[in-house]
Subunit: 132 residues, 2 copies
């Protein structure tokens, strides 16, 4: 269960606006990015929220992986996105694949600012460097 | 997009073993816990991995929320589980609901040891206390 959980909160995304509103399109792009990173999808779920008034509504794209999961949430009214890429190291160290997937999504959304965190998951107490 | 992302890595779970192997049963229990916490599900995806040999295989349960998501991954061969409860504060502060959901899942799995982290998501740079 040891693994790497990368998070990124993206602000003022400069990508085409539809990447933040088109659940099927974003889901398809996520599927491609997962495959390109060498990760193994085992399920997927894409959800488009209902617009309130004239404001565009966000979407959620989740791909379950043999290695754990990818979750994307968008806030088109803010040009904002949150990303979660979590891979456990079952069968090998998948950290590089996780970073490749994160970089692909950062390139897709092209934010002016990104706040990123890295969390070691499932790490024995004595060697966990994230909470010394 | 401001919100709270709670993670927990659970070791040596003392619950009934089927909570770590029965995707439909775990999914149903997660659905109940989401409702009891006052969070709003908008989609769900439960996946059971194929056993390799005689060892039991894990499951993944994901519930997409109006407020963001819940993800549960299990490793029955280790008695281990990882939990992610992420709620954005769209329409109000849902932090208490997130903590309620996390507590319900901790009580369900009953681990001997739990390593928990809390990450502020979507927080402006000047006030983010997780990465000073």
């Amino acid at each position: 269960m040891q693994g790497l959980h990368l998070t990124a909160d993206l602000y003022r995304c400069r990508c085409a606006p539809e990447w933040l509103t088109d659940a099927a399109g974003l889901g398809s792009r996520c599927r491609e990015a997962v495959a390109a990173a060498g990760l193994q999808p085992v399920g997927e779920l894409f959800h488009a929220f209902n617009p309130m008034g004239d404001a565009p509504a966000g979407v959620t794209a989740t791909i379950l992986l043999a290695e754990s999961h990818l979750c994307v949430h968008t806030w088109p009214e803010l040009g904002a996105v949150t990303l979660d890429v979590y891979v456990c190291n079952f069968g090998g160290d998948h950290s590089t694949k996780a970073r490749t997937l994160m970089q692909a999504l950062l390139a897709l959304f092209d934010p002016e600012e990104a706040r990123q965190h890295s969390l070691a998951r499932g790490t024995p107490v004595a060697t966990d460097t994230t909470n010394p």
